[in-house]
Symmetry: none
Subunit: 261 residues, 2 copies
DNA sequence: TTGGTAAATTGGTCAAACCAATATGTTGCG
DNA sequence: CGCAACATATTGGTTTGACCAATTTACCAA
């Protein structure tokens, strides 16, 4: 009924592909400036709006960046996050973060509950191992390792729930969130005392699963997420405060905005 | 020297973000058709070229798809990216179906609970509409319409939960399952009496949400899934029986087909 | 040399028009 | 009455031309 017919090729797509090819071939290197739109349009034999649509496509992929009056520059596409669709969503719509944490609360609570009910000996061993590794990683300051260990632990729990979707989704969401946090917030160093609390929470989850106490496991997992959620919110608030403070400092040179709070 | 300066906001970016938000919020659902560019441009108060640039951005992200003369339609890269791989899995490993139903039990239970708590008047209206449509569709024998109405109802509930992930996932899973069922099982005609039961279950969910009874809504949703799960299992068992019987008949003609390479 | 201002450059936006593919309604034939 | 063929309207695709705003560049004066 709908998009069954084959698509008519769009000029903007062809142009975008052409430019993309030039970038990938290396004839347009990162940092290079594209010819002015008017010139480039003539050179490519298309109208300026068509060229602009193509440029917007590339810009949305993060391959180029335009500045009014300045020009259009090729960016280093390795720096931009060209990952999951959700990844960009999270960046663009921070309110999704709250949705995701709420969702994770349900997900990990259920995973812990089922894991406590269903984990085999092999699952248990794996959970033990990842739990120990997590504790080790927490004493170091290597945030990358901490992330990996964290993901591994939760994934082990998720897989011990013996539900394929639950396992994959917990892992995927956790990975997504870690990437996103590291990306948007830089680090979580703002919470120095949180480490020991997190450790205790993980220990509670681990213990409840090992002792085959489903409800306790669910409660522990939910408490864990609640804590992460609250901590993250605080951290984001303080980051926002720092940013406004910095902005205030910058504008201090032009003394018109008095009445600071 | 280059992109340090802060960017001037582009209209096309704002428009793209606006449309993207509508899609994520669910007011523009996958398969929906956008208003014509000329209308939409007026509605948003921008020129058509600007709107087009925004649409191209979304198109390059795979969120919309345009056909000359046909219109612009919302795709859903989020759902497909999460579950395209799952589609094949389901075919290859039927035991995943059980996992999925178990997962859906949790998902839809939570969705119903939150919907009962959080649904706005608009959500309620939509749930009412889809519920009525579902009842109408059930009297007919058009299985495709029944599927669509079923999906629409559950999706309305999922979106009324006001959690983007939950909304998209319920819809995606339901769609996945319906495709899969229709694919693997042909039809569900094996359950003639199930119709009225399903109808009652949907009515229970609908009533609980309308009456703002979260726990009742969750229970009703879980009961619904339990019934579907049980019915489906029965239906599969009988199908398997038919198949073995048929196989037995077939092999009767050529006895001893064993070990040939 | 330094500083600022004017001009040129360049991306951003808009308007109007036309083309081409699609969708829709209508007519006429069987 | 049903259906196919055609005519019309709708809708995305493209172009032209113009103007605005931010940036860069050139130039001139102190």
């Amino acid at each position: 009924m709908l998009q069954n017919k084959l698509q008519v090729p769009r000029i903007s797509d062809a142009v975008a592909a052409s430019l993309e090819r030039r970038i990938l071939e290396g004839s347009l290197k990162p940092g290079d400036r594209l010819p002015p739109e008017r010139e480039l349009a003539v050179e490519l034999g298309v109208s300026r709006p068509s060229l602009r649509e193509a440029i917007q496509k590339l810009a949305s992929k993060g391959m180029v960046q335009s500045r009014q009056g300045g020009g259009t520059y090729v960016t280093d596409r390795l720096e931009s996050s060209f990952f999951d669709p959700w990844q960009e969503m999270m960046g663009a719509h921070p309110n999704l973060r709250e949705d995701m944490l709420e969702f994770r609360r349900m997900l990990e609570g259920q995973a812990a509950e089922w894991a406590a009910e269903r984990a085999t000996d092999a699952d248990m061993t794996r959970i033990d191992q990842t739990f120990l590794a997590l504790n080790e990683a927490f004493v170091s300051d290597d945030l990358d390792n901490r992330s990996k260990a964290d993901i591994a632990f939760h994934q082990a729990v998720g897989e011990a729930s013996h539900n394929a979707l639950l396992g994959h989704l917990t892992a995927a969401l956790l990975r997504l969130m870690h990437d996103n946090i590291r990306l948007n917030l830089g680090e979580l160093k703002t919470l120095p005392a949180a480490g020991v609390l997190l450790k205790n929470q993980h220990a509670a989850i681990h213990a409840a699963i090992r002792d085959r106490k489903p409800q306790a496991a669910r409660a522990a997992a939910e408490t864990h997420i609640d804590f992460v959620r609250e901590t993250l919110a605080q951290s984001l608030r303080s980051a926002a405060r720092r940013e406004t403070a910095a902005r205030r400092l910058n504008t201090e040179f032009s003394p018109s905005d008095s009445h600071t709070s």
